[in-house]
Amino acid sequence: MPLPPTQDFKALAAIARELRIDVLTMLEKAGSGHPGGSLGMADVYTLLWFGGYLHVDPANPQWPDRDRFVLSNGHICPILYAILAKKGYFPRADLWTLRKLGSPLQGHPDFHFTRGVDACTGSLGNGVSVALGMALGARLTGRKFHVYAGSSDGECQEGQLWEMATAAAHHKVDNLTLFIDWNGIQIDGYNRDVMDVRDLVAKFTAFGWHAEEVNGNDMQAVDAALRRALAVKGQPQVLCCRTVLGTPISFMLNKPHWHGVAPNAEELKKALAELGAS
């Protein structure tokens, strides 16, 4: 696994800001969708996609040796779509068709429609198993690619995620790295009120994973944790990313309402102003 050189965190921060602008803009145009996690995980996924970790070729989305990215909590696909557009998988203008009839950008990721999407996801619990299958597939086909998967604290309420965690550790799958968006919020409210997921690091550790808690809105911290994770042999790895839902839009921060409600025109204007965009 070739690790990226020293990061230019200033440049990465600028990319993250642009991705957030696209996320908010596409959601306002769509009129529905999930801004909270898309904004909260923007720093982690900027680092992954633009910090030299994920080896892909936008000109050849089916390159068999590419690294895979499975967004198992598929509802935060706005951030994935913004990334794919910036990477050149499709024109940025496509972002403004999100969730509309005939759009290449479906409400949840679907590779039949969207270039660069590796798995059809959206039903929580399922995508992580697909990611594990891909990682095992690399082993069985003698390829060297790495599989990254995105998940969330809410998804950790699905039993299937723990079936996956059990099997990944049992089969000593070390080409699988999972990011958990641990923002403490799900659609019905705070995890602690709806269904407390408790200490995710302790749980994954008990399942046999290399697990670390990291501030998911601190790219330098994520970069350091990811370097440690990718050095691990014989174990799957998880970064339990403490993020703040809605980062950095002041009126969205840590508010369950913004898990799954798109901003209206006025809210978009306020949000873009906070990002220094118009």
Binding site: P64, V70, D110, F111, H112, D118, A119, C120, G122, S123, G125, N126, G127, V128, S129, V130, A131, L132, G133, M134, A135, L136, G137, A138, L140, T141, R143, G159, Q160, E163, M164, T166, A167, H170, H171
Partner: protein, 319 residues
């Protein structure tokens, strides 16, 4: 096979046994085949493959939902995946994963589900899935195959290994007669005519098909000419053969170890009502669950064996 031949097969084998044998044989020819099981490899017979090709067999443990997702992920890397469990769990417990991660992405996965239907026998209602054909055939992209004896099961496994895309193959625990003729050849989307007949058509799939042939032979003795179709390919359905039956005989009797709703009989009824309506009498479970007992006794108890088929066909021809 001549319509008047009465077969008394000596040899019996469960279709799951033939599956295990065929899969292991394929393993030698096809290095791209990977097999998954959920802690039932001794029963589903994937253990034959596992023993021969341990590197290409993954036991996922008692976690069928996870297994279906893993199957999809493996298939996405270019592998040909077989995933096995009991039909109750493969089609029932993991239904949503099969829908989302196999049918929707058109994953190159063959779900080979054993212990289907009443003939699980003694394990009882919790293990006797009688709804899986319904669940699977309604899924876009999913093909549903129910081989009727061991010979056909081996051919089906070869056929689905050679044909990309999702398949659901329904297999049985109970040993059943090897009754199909030696020159029988399974073809996807084709229903073989096992008996010629002009008065009535009897359509079976899986373990019931042998009883259909026995019923036709018994009917012949009382002067009723019954055609028998082996409808192992439930989806795609051989609409040509079904519509020919609708046109050329007075009605159709279907027989399956499945709920009457949404199974083989429903598939046949859907076909004829749109193109050439005729009477369709569906023998199957009458909107109820099974119970414990030997498989063959259960089939008899719930009216899915020769006497019940004869009676249904007779009533259809001579109301």
């Amino acid at each position: 096979m001549s319509p008047t031949t009465v077969t008394q097969p000596q040899q019996k084998i469960a279709t799951r046994e033939s599956y295990g044998k065929a899969l292991a044989a394929l393993g030698a020819e096809r290095p791209d085949i990977v097999v998954l099981d959920a802690d039932l490899s001794g029963s589903t017979k994937t253990n034959v493959f596992a023993k021969a090709y341990p590197q290409r067999f993954l036991n996922i443990g008692v976690a069928e939902a996870n297994m279906m997702g893993i199957a999809s992920g493996l298939a996405s890397t270019g592998l040909t995946v077989f995933a096995s469990s009991f039909a109750m769990f493969a089609a029932g417990k993991a239904y949503e994963q099969v829908r989302q991660e196999i049918a929707l992405p058109v994953a190159n996965v063959r779900i080979c589900a054993t212990h289907a239907g009443l003939t699980v026998g003694e394990d009882g209602a919790s293990h006797q899935v009688l709804e899986d054909i319904a669940l699977m055939r309604v899924l876009p992209n999913m093909r549903v195959i129910v081989p009727s004896d061991g010979l056909e099961a081996e051919q089906v496994i070869r056929a689905v290994a050679a044909t990309p895309g999702p398949f659901y193959v329904r297999l049985s625990r109970m040993a059943t007669p090897l009754f199909l003729p030696a020159d029988y050849r399974f073809a996807l989307g084709r229903a073989a005519r096992l008996r010629d007949g002009k008065d009535v058509t009897i359509i079976g799939a899986g373990v019931t098909t042998w009883y259909c042939t026995q019923a036709a032979d018994a009917l012949a003795a009382e002067g009723i000419s019954a055609r028998v179709l082996n409808c192992s390919s439930i989806k795609p359905l051989d609409t040509e053969a079904v519509l020919a039956a609708a046109r050329e005989t007075r009605g159709i009797v279907t027989v399956e170890e499945h709920q009457r709703a949404c199974g083989l009989g429903s598939a046949v009824a859907e076909c004829v009502t749109e193109a050439h309506p005729c009477r369709v009498v569906r023998l199957g479970m009458q909107d109820r669950f099974g119970e414990t007992g030997p498989g063959d006794k259960l089939l008899e108890h719930f009216g899915l064996t020769t006497p019940a088929i004869v009676q249904a066909a007779r009533q259809l021809v001579r109301p």
